[in-house]
């Protein structure tokens, strides 16, 4: 017997006929009729008119028929709420049925009928079912609580179902536990503040026990729930990891990925020195590779996640390059993802293999894939310097194929290679110029124009080439127009005599005939520059460009950390936080990785270690519109910006933004000039003459800041403290402090003679210390020091002395000699006296370095009770040579990105999070990244000292 015949009834009066059949006395006929109704429902016919007749069939002991009727009810109850009440009695009765299957079926179905009137009747049966003797009924009832909560949250709370649900976590049956966990997690998501899932070591232990026994799906629910827990210390984290690791061998990929999520998250808390840390890293690689032999859809999910994992912890998969080689028959989405990961894993060790593969891929059929492969070759060149030469020659080979999109893609990447290795591969320009005519995509055209403009002096017919583009100026995209404008200005500055006419033409095209504000403003600025001071123009337009960073399209670190918490979920597939694609209250709670717990190194000041701060309370950062920093990184590869991107956040960045890449991008470096629009662009700008004031001041601000003169005031000086009490030094008391002014460090000493005899013949010597501090001049006390006399001396210091690591790092041991004896004392110097004046890092550099420094080196601190706003903080820090590289406002919080450099060349990068306007919460959060993590603690102290004084 087949069911397909039910799909075929299309006669007239069908409903009428069905009605008759439904009311038939014969059971078989009734069942047949209900089947027909369900079939009609499936294909989308409206059979709601039969509601009373179908509900009448509900009272039956035939389970199959019952299920069919229930199915119908679930579909139509909402449209016929009054009639649905008719069914309530049967439901309530069924919930008491001796057969547990029927009890469960009734409570399951009732939860799916989303009619308010029915939910009232649901409470009693549900309460019974939650305590049913049969686990099958209990596990169904657990999910039903979540259903009810979705319809009427208040009711669930009032009826105390949440507590019953919590009790079920201790149930003896693993499946009941798993479903209760799933239901609680979902309910907790819509109550972010409530402490529903009160996870503590005991309940975690229960979950871990249930983990071994429940179904594969239950294991997923439990693992996903575990991932939200924050262990109290690294030992607990380790013991959970140990019990989760066996899941990595599960056949279900989702179990494996959820286990990976838990491990990746808790690993944050483990110290790198631990043996276990290394073992865990090794254990993670094989299961991740195994995911790649799953079905293609799962491979895709796995690859998107691996992409995140590789960015977070490159060491896990660094030897597994080969498994990401593309197979000819892989679906395109798998191919593209594999390619992405290959580039991320490319290193000097495997570059030859990677390049050979990429060259193969560049001859495949799929256009997107081929383009990406070509682009990947360029990225290899930039990433691995040793391979640059081979990459360039491979690209040239590809250009010879004359396949249109290959050529265009190759030109775009070659432009980047020029930026990375200036004056090395310019010999290929001739070949590029041959292909000028075939370029029809804006990005490729813009790249080519950039190359021509940049190397105008080496291309004989540069003016002709650029002129040819100028003919269709108005038809070009903004990207190309901007680039053409900049290119021609560059050409003019290099060959002023022949190209005057050309430059005037392009300036007037840009300023008078265009209604694009970006283009117009850039045109005005050039015009103004050229007419007032051609020499300055030359300096600005032809300024040396910063090198582009090695890694492109990395995910912003805060976002990356959040996504790591979402491994396996849609967020990790989209590479977006859930708030970007989930509506309403669900999923907007930001997650963040747990902070590393207090380890022995930083134990000296325990109150600074942020171990106590649960991650749930740490506000997380998601850039408001895409990731701004990432975008800036991507300037050269990013999509063209159409229209003025004058968003609030970029305006707020103001002058600080211009300090970094802004100037470059404005003055003809980047093809799009995102940075440029941030700054002047007065919409009223009409003629160059009227622009004098705003632009003038704007520019001078700009130069002011770039030259970094604002730091002359010198850094913070602590009040003098007694270093050597008189009692210990036979009457000589020494107090002092350290200062830094205009690049020189000095030790300000105050010597007091508290003895009864005159002191003479002073001398000073330092022991070897961490930063090589040494007196730059002898200690000069001109006259003998008579009793009760005090002298003040400023002793200049240099940092060229011999170096020995001290404990603590900023410890300085000093010996002072006079005619009486030699005295020894030690003092701690504040680290900020070592912050040098050129500690401002270029913005791109900053980003690259930030990513480059492994996350284990990141340290987080809290600066409490610091009622300052971002500007005050920034200027205060700047006077002590901590420079703000960029500033952003994210969800009401100011984020400052800062850099500083120590006298011995160590860079320290900082991210400072400020919540303005909240008097109750005046805490700043500081994350420091440095290649020498031992300085972080002291840098933090310096921050605190500077900000609090």
């Amino acid at each position: 017997m087949t069911d397909s015949k039910y799909f075929t009834t299309t006669k007239k009066g069908e409903i009428f006929e069905l009605k008759a059949e439904l009311n038939s006395d014969k059971k078989e006929k009734k069942k047949e009729a209900v089947k027909k109704v369900i079939a009609s429902m499936t294909v989308g016919k409206d059979v709601s008119a039969l509601f009373p007749d179908v509900v009448n069939c509900m009272q039956t002991d035939n389970l199959e028929l019952k299920k069919l009727v229930y199915l119908y009810l679930m579909n139509y109850a909402k449209s016929q709420p009054d009639m649905a009440i008719m069914a309530v009695n049967t439901f309530v009765k069924d919930c008491e049925d001796p057969n547990p299957l029927i009890r469960a079926l009734a409570v399951r179905t009732m939860g799916c009928i989303r009619v308010d009137k029915i939910t009232e009747y649901l409470c009693e049966p549900l309460r019974k079912c939650l305590k049913d003797e049969d686990p099958y009924v209990r596990k169904t009832a657990a999910v039903c609580v979540a259903k009810l909560h979705d319809i009427n949250a208040q009711l669930v709370e009032d009826q105390g179902f949440l507590d019953t649900l919590k009790d079920l976590i201790s149930d003896s049956n693993p499946m009941v536990v798993a479903n209760a966990v799933a239901a609680l997690s979902e309910i907790a998501e819509s109550h972010p503040s409530s402490n529903l899932l009160d996870l503590n070591p005991q309940s975690i232990n229960k979950l871990l026990t249930a983990l071994n026994e429940c179904t594969e799906w239950g294991q997923i629910f439990i693992l996903d729930c575990l991932a939200n827990y924050t262990p109290k210390d690294d030992r607990e984290a380790q013991s959970i990891c140990e019990r989760v690791t066996p899941r990595l061998s599960h056949a279900n990929s989702a179990v494996v990925l959820s286990a990976v999520k838990v491990l990746m998250k808790f690993m944050e808390m483990l110290s790198k020195d631990l043996d276990y840390y290394g073992t865990l890293l090794k254990k993670l690689a094989p299961p991740l590779v195994t995911l790649l032999s799953a079905e293609p859809e799962l491979q895709y999910v796995a690859l998107r996640n691996i992409n995140l994992i590789v960015q977070k912890r490159p060491e896990i998969l660094k030897h597994e390059m080969k498994v990401f080689f593309v197979k000819y028959n892989d679906p395109i989405y798998v191919k593209l993802e594999k390619l992405d990961i290959m580039i991320r894993l490319a290193s000097q060790a495997n570059i030859a293999q990677v390049l050979a593969e990429l060259k193969e891929y560049a001859t495949e059929v799929d256009v997107d894939f081929v383009r990406k492969a070509v682009r990947a070759i360029g990225r290899c060149a930039i990433k691995v310097e040793q391979s640059a030469e081979r990459c360039v020659s491979t690209l040239l080979d590809l250009i010879q194929t004359k396949v249109n999109y290959v050529v265009q893609e190759a030109i775009v990447v070659i432009k980047d290679i020029f930026r990375k290795y200036p004056n090395k591969y310019e010999s290929v320009i001739a070949t590029l110029c041959e292909n000028l005519d075939s370029l029809d995509e804006p990005e490729a055209r813009a790249a080519m124009i950039w190359i021509v403009g940049e190397y105008a002096e080496r291309i004989d017919n540069a003016d002709e080439l650029l002129e040819s583009f100028l003919e269709g100026f108005h038809d070009e995209s903004t990207q190309v127009q901007l680039q053409l404008l900049t290119g021609i200005v560059k050409l003019f500055l290099k060959k002023p005599t022949e190209t005057q006419e050309l430059v005037q033409q392009v300036l007037s095209l840009a300023t008078q005939d265009s209604d694009n504000p970006d283009l117009r403003d850039r045109g005005y600025i050039y015009w103004r520059l050229l007419s007032t001071d051609p020499v300055a123009a030359k300096e600005v337009v032809l300024a040396e460009k910063p090198l582009i960073s090695e890694e492109t399209d990395l995910i912003e670190p805060t976002l990356l950390d959040e996504l790591i918490c979402y491994i396996g979920t849609l967020a990790s597939v989209y590479h977006k936080p859930p708030s970007a694609f989930v509506e309403g209250g669900r999923g907007v709670v930001h997650k963040s990785l747990p902070p590393r717990t207090a380890s022995s190194e930083s134990a000296e000041s325990p109150e600074t270690a942020p171990a106590g701060a649960p991650p749930g309370e740490q506000p997380d950062v998601i850039p408001a519109q895409g990731d701004l920093l990432g975008d800036l990184l991507n300037l050269d590869l990013g999509p063209p910006v159409s229209g003025p991107p004058l968003t609030t956040s970029s305006v707020q960045m103001g002058a600080v933004d211009l300090l970094g890449g802004g100037l470059d991008s404005l003055m003809g470096d980047e093809p799009e000039g995102i940075g440029g629009t941030n700054f002047v662009a007065p919409p009223t700008a009409a003629v160059p003459a009227s622009l004098g004031a705003p632009i003038g001041s704007g520019l001078s601000d700009l130069f002011d800041l770039t030259s970094g003169v604002g730091t002359l005031s010198g850094s913070y000086v602590a009040p003098k403290a007694v270093w050597l009490p008189a009692m210990k030094a036979k009457g000589l008391e020494i107090s002092g402090t350290f200062t830094r002014q205009v690049g020189s460090i000095s030790m300000d000493l105050q010597l007091t003679n508290k003895a009864l005899q005159v002191m003479t013949d002073f001398a000073i010597q330092f022991n070897r210390n961490s930063f090589g501090l040494a007196p730059a001049a002898p200690l000069q006390v001109h006259a003998p020091l008579s009793p009760n006399q005090t002298v003040e001396i400023s002793l200049p210091l240099s940092t060229v002395g011999s170096v020995m690591k001290m404990e603590p790092l900023n410890n300085l041991q000093v010996a002072v000699k006079n005619n009486i004896d030699v005295f020894y004392f030690s003092t701690l110097y504040p680290l900020h006296i070592l912050f040098v004046e050129d500690g401002k890092m270029d913005r791109q550099m900053f980003l690259a370095t930030w990513k480059d420094i492994p996350n284990e080196n990141e340290a987080q601190f809290q600066i409490r009770d610091c009622p300052l706003n971002a500007e005050a903080v920034s200027s205060k820090l700047q006077s002590s040579n901590i420079f703000t590289v960029a500033k952003r406002n994210v969800e009401g919080q100011d984020m400052l990105y800062q850099s500083l450099k120590l006298t011995n060349g160590i860079w320290v990068l900082a991210e400072l999070r400020i919540q303005p306007g909240n008097p109750s919460c005046m805490d700043l959060e500081l994350s420091l990244k440095c290649r020498a993590p031992e300085v972080s603690q002291h840098v933090y102290q310096a921050y605190e000292t500077i900000l609090k004084n």
């Binding site: 069911d3 397909s4 039910y6 499936t42 294909v43 989308g44 002991d61 035939n62 389970l63 199959e64 299920k67 069919l68 579909n75 057969n99 547990p100 299957l101 029927i102 469960a104 686990p135 099958y136 999910v143 499946m175 071994n212 026994e213 179904t215 799906w217 690791t245 066996p246 599960h250 056949a251 279900n252 989702a254 494996v256 990925l257 959820s258 094989p286 299961p287 195994t290 079905e295 859809e297 895709y300 999910v301 498994v323 080689f325 197979k327 000819y328 989405y333 050979a356 495949e364 059929v365 194929t401 004359k402 396949v403 396996g568 979920t569 849609l570 694609f581 509506e583 669900r586 999923g587």
Partner: protein, 459 residues
């Protein structure tokens, strides 16, 4: 969690639609994108859901371009899909669900359906739609996957539907305790007159080789499939020549290490059926379990070291002018001469503008298949340490297409009666303390089959 599940035929008509949550579709498609969707479903389905259903059909099934991603986000609604022959299964959600779980569930759904009614086709789905709704109700509750082991499901969801009155109370509680229990995959009280088990070691060997014969990547992905017909609740223990185990045992007896050490294999990674006690494997590396009744996949594994590559393909492609290609391919078998490989097929791709092909082969049959753009060379059987050769002349039509022919790799299919990874089953012990049969009474069969996975040589 999963908000709804739809099954479509190739035309995009809905065969099965089960909605678990109201949130899907509420805004999925208030845009004009769907105005083009035509009157097919029109006003038939209830408002919001129709939008989700339509959105998927228009944007994925009827999309002009081939599928670029198995996850599609349309108007803030996410669609996960898998395709089986020409049937589309789509799970829909508006939340940040566990994506891996959704796909695993869709595969499982296919397995369960296949176990009930065979091939997943439009006809079978229509014929069994009541059953499918019943299954969907059971294995997915409010979008949360529940026990989906076919063995357990079949005890209470039968194709005839169960008559509740025929069940005794004990039977009922047996069902529920199995569905929710620790051993959800096996019911109690199974009896066989003859206790028997079959072990199949099925391996697929994957290779990517450069034209010069350099191995670019090679791995074996293997499965151990077990068919068990055992009474009671048998406790089983499976042993193989896993290097780590052998080395651990070898510590005691030194001479055995040297003997068995050679034969042991290094397993890169393995995953197990949910019946295997993972924590025991993690601590002792022993594989112990209570098997489901009937056929199941005990484990999957992957090896990359010391793989026996059963065949070597040596390609030679020469372009003679613009209108002719000469291809010569030699295959060499590389295993014991006493063994026979079967179902050998070599597929040599030809350019799109091929006009004619002449083929000469020493063994088997070769044919040019224009529709597949390939020369297919088939050999029924071939013993180890042999060699065979094919040569072909390909005539090309002159084209003005600038792009060179991509030269897809030469691929190969075969089946050999051994495990290319070198895996050997050492034992499978069965203990059933309650019933009176011992390990000796169980009849055991072991079989090794090595097949080609993606076995390609670039030319």
């Amino acid at each position: 969690m999963i908000g709804g599940l739809f099954i479509y035929n190739h035309k995009g008509e809905v065969l099965i639609s089960r909605v678990y949550r109201d949130d899907i579709g509420s805004q999925a498609a208030d845009s004009a994108v769907f105005s083009s969707s035509g009157p097919f479903l029109g006003e038939r389905l209830g408002g919001s859901v129709r939008n989700a259903v339509d959105a998927f059909r228009v944007n994925v099934i009827h999309a002009r371009q081939q599928v670029r991603s198995p996850v599609t986000n349309i108007a803030r609604t996410s669609f996960f899909h898998v395709k089986r022959s020409n049937i589309w299964l789509a799970a829909v959600t508006k939340q940040n669900v566990n994506a891996a779980m959704v796909f695993e569930f869709l595969y499982k759904m296919c397995d369960v359906m296949a176990a009930y009614f065979g091939k997943i086709s439009e006809e079978n789905i229509k014929n069994n739609f009541v059953l499918i709704y019943e299954l969907l109700d059971e294995i997915l509750d409010f979008g949360y996957p529940q026990n989906s082991e076919t063995g357990a499901l079949k005890t209470f969801i039968t194709q005839q539907g169960i008559k509740s009155q025929h069940q005794t109370k004990e039977e009922q509680s047996q069902i529920t305790s199995q569905v929710t229990g620790q051993i959800g995959w096996r019911r109690e009280g199974i009896k066989y007159r003859r206790n028997e088990l079959f072990l199949d070691v099925l391996e697929s060997v994957n290779l990517l080789m450069s034209p010069q014969g350099q191995v670019l990547s090679a791995h074996v992905s293997g499965r151990v499939v077990m068919k068990s017909y055992l009474s009671g609740m048998p406790e089983c223990k499976f042993g193989m020549n896993d290097k780590i185990v052998i080395e651990k045992q070898g510590k005691g007896t030194a001479d055995e290490t040297s003997k068995s050490g050679k034969q042991s294999i290094a397993i890169d990674d393995c995953t197990f059926h949910q019946c295997v006690r993972l924590s025991k494997f993690d601590s002792e590396r022993s594989i112990s379990f209570i098997p489901p009744d009937g056929e199941f996949e005990l484990m999957r594994y992957r090896t990359t070291k010391d793989i026996i590559l059963p065949f070597r393909v040596i390609p030679l492609v020469r372009e003679v002018g613009r209108t002719k290609l000469e291809v010569k391919v030699v295959i060499k078998s590389n295993f014991k001469p006493s063994l026979l490989a079967q179902k050998i097929e070599v597929r040599i791709p030809t350019p799109l503008n091929t006009s004619g092909v002449q083929v000469i082969c020493m063994k088997g049959k070769a044919k040019y298949k224009a529709s597949e753009n390939a020369i297919v060379w088939k050999i029924k059987r071939m013993a180890g340490m042999k060699e065979s050769q094919i040569s072909a002349e390909i005539e090309l039509l002159p084209t003005n297409d600038k792009k060179k022919w991509a030269r897809p790799p030469i691929s190969m299919n075969f089946e050999v009666p051994f495990a290319p990874s070198g895996l050997k089953v050492r034992y499978l012990k069965v203990f059933e303390p309650k019933l009176n049969y011992s390990d000796h009474d169980v009849i055991k069969w072991v079989r090794y089959i090595g097949r080609s996975g993606i076995y390609e040589t670039r030319c």
